[in-house]
Symmetry: C2
């Protein structure tokens, strides 16, 4: 039987943390809504917003990316992902989790992966261009709208440099695009210049990690994207269940809802213990903030990291206000391990012989129990292993949980109306036609 | 005259953001406490906790580090900082801000700097050891107590590897220690093996960035630590003033206090717009959480990043609950710049010719104004430039603000009693003598 990631929520309960935890009857009551919610979601399955549920079944895309990957490997040494927000965070989470931090300096089978376009800080581009051999570098430009300022200016800059290095004609194969196939600046440029446009997934960016946006770099870096998708399918399947004992993404959502609505816990911390899941927590942070933060509602997500933040945030989590809930993630099996050398120092002798992985697990357990003892609700997601398959499960687990949480809160998780105003101010200040009014308005404050 | 970083708090005020902002009379009332607080702090100046105020004047340390740096440069190519929490975050903030992300791949005058010891994840050590030439690598082991588990196990592991690579005798010069000079495991080992112990700053780690803990790596990486200290002295000077118009760290603390106490805004976001200040925000995050999170009080700090998080967190900040205040940091002069190439694409033509740095500033301004228009209090710290001098100011600004905020809240900012319990559980599970009771207690939950 397929193994499934497990959400252990016993330390979230009133039994363990008193009035700061959920009551069984509260959860049971919410559970009665599950069938209705699942029915509603099922009806919307052809809505672009919910089409992320089809991504794990997209064999055509897998085949296309496989062919593309052969070409990339033949021609290039580096792949630079140029995107911001969702166009960056998903790929970053996959690469960091599976390839680690020093991937580009270690000898790996796949391409070196770099990230740019998530800022307009000139120094970041400048530094990156100093270390890249442009002749050996492909760029993946990701912008759903095809007009997002940050990746567009980076793209225009990189393109000029690549043309300078290899000439206009050869530059063509250096750029791969992911933008909606309808008319927009990026798709226009792609068509005119002959760049391959993979056609952005029709739904919103923050549910696009298992589309080409996340999969292209995963494959280019040497990972098995079929396993990522197979993992996601497992969670898709359990999410179709109306049984609370099976549908763990719903349980997760329900406990976030109860903490926020019933106990005013307005902060939700995600704290993986495997170091290289740190970027995963940043992917979660966007999913939670943009999906749920609207109409004066919203749980503020925090990306933390264990055991690192035991020496930074734990003091606050244990003795600060009762305003947060915490979710840990840890792999039960971890293929990496080392052993602490024995030492003659008497006080440190107890450490000798322990495995690092064992210590990691002990740190998680000690933190979780001591939080519980201080009546701080916390839960843990256990991964059987840290690999493509369970990472795929993890992504889909949180995506489904976000959808459920939106339904419970009565919020549309797929839009982000709040950021339009600041974009218009930017257009105004940058002299874009049609935004003269906004330009006048903001200039009062300069 | 010396330039000073500027804290602009107009968008924090009730005038601009209505009932979610501070009232002038509230601030004036708190201001009356400043003289008393300053007097109290002045009296405690010889207390180890407050001795961080002496660090910017420590010329002996500067001279010692200068000599040490000559030896490091002569013998090594890499320096690995082995610490967790405060022993890691300060150095990391300096190196990232000044040297950027690709420092170790670019040709620089100084040593390559790596960080380890802030986790017990075996993969991190494993990866790092694969890319380091140990013969050319020195290690700086930082642990105030000399017994912190994470850096100690990393240290024991690295030491074994270095001895394996260069032999017991030569290994001696590969290790530099920073621990309290009294009897503890790390100082014992240092003494026995002949490692140089720089003697940890007597106060708490999170106020130690301008001691050897932060300065050694800054100097080894080629930066001017005298300028860092000169910057800190400027803020030390203005903090001695009881004039609200001069003492900006107090203003900052007072507005954090008022938001938290009067308006239940329990979240404080720090969002630099210069990309490489991202690790600085993580240094701040520890300072705020550990200093202030106790006795069921505490403001939860969030490390954010502009413009990156405009596409991740801004939706929540603008349309979510009124539960947070935001502080931006941006450099007014930035020595790096690039220009956006002109494009034939009509819709994107407005971007051509703009400088990246100008766009960065426009993004900050548009975000700040649109938050204000949505009645979201936000302030901005303007740095005249991003260099050692103003970074030194920035560190000291927040350290003094934390002290003031602790005084206003009636909290001792220098202890962290909350993390002791989980440490004891760990000791118990790791089989350390004297912790059998804790072992029994936690084993019930395994």
């Amino acid at each position: 039987m397929e193994k499934i990631i497990k959400y252990d929520c016993q330390f979230m309960s009133a039994e363990k943390v008193g009035s700061f935890g959920f009551k069984k009857q509260e959860l049971a009551k919410l559970g009665k809504k599950l069938a209705t919610i699942n029915k509603k979601i099922e009806k919307l399955k052809n809505n672009p917003d919910l089409s992320f549920r089809k991504l794990p079944y997209d064999n055509l895309l897998v085949n296309l990316l496989g062919k593309l990957n052969v070409i990339l490997k033949k021609n290039f040494k580096n792949l630079v992902i140029v995107g911001i927000g969702a166009s960056d965070l998903g790929a970053r989470a996959i690469i960091r989790t599976l390839a680690g931090r020093y991937n580009n300096q270690l000898k790996t089978k796949g391409l070196n992966i770099y990230f740019a376009g998530n800022t307009t800080d000139p120094r970041v581009l400048d530094d990156l261009l100093k270390i890249l051999d442009l002749k050996k570098t492909a760029f993946f430009i990701v912008s759903r709208s095809g007009s997002t300022i940050e990746p567009m200016v980076s793209f225009l800059y990189f393109r000029k440099k690549v043309i300078g290095a290899v000439g206009q004609k050869k530059a063509q194969k250096h750029f791969i695009i992911s933008t909606l196939p309808n008319k927009n600046p990026l798709s226009d440029i792609a068509q005119k210049e002959g760049y391959l446009n993979l056609a952005h997934y029709p739904g919103g960016g923050r549910y696009s990690v298992l589309s080409a946006n996340g999969l292209l770099s995963a494959m280019a870096c040497g990972f098995d994207i079929k396993k990522l998708l197979a993992g996601a399918r497992v969670i898709d399947k359990i999410s179709k269940s109306n049984n609370l004992k099976v549908n763990s993404p719903f349980i997760f959502a329900a406990l976030q809802y109860l903490a926020y609505k019933k106990r005013k816990q307005n902060i939700s911390v995600l704290m993986p213990y495997n170091y290289y899941l740190n970027e995963f927590a940043f992917w979660f942070r966007q999913l939670w903030a943009e999906s749920l933060g609207k109409e004066r509602l919203g749980i503020t997500p925090i990306a933390a990291l264990g055991p690192t933040d035991q020496h930074s945030q734990l003091q606050l989590y244990i003795e600060g206000p009762h305003d947060k809930i915490i979710t840990f993630i840890i792999a039960e099996k971890y293929k990496h391990d080392l052993s602490v050398p024995k030492t003659n120092n008497k006080e440190m002798a107890y450490l000798g012989g322990h495995s690092f992985n064992q210590i990691l697990k002990i740190e998680h357990k000690a933190t979780s129990v001591s939080l519980m003892k201080s009546q701080r609700p916390n839960g843990t997601i256990y991964l059987p292993e840290l690999n493509e398959y369970y990472l795929g499960q993890l992504f889909f687990f949180f995506e489904m949980a976000a959808v459920y949480l939106g339904e419970l809160l009565g919020i549309n998780v797929f839009n982000q109306p709040g950021v339009e105003h600041s974009k218009k101010y930017m257009y105004g200040l940058l002299g874009r036609k049609g935004f003269e009014k906004e330009a006048r308005e903001i200039k009062k404050f300069l």
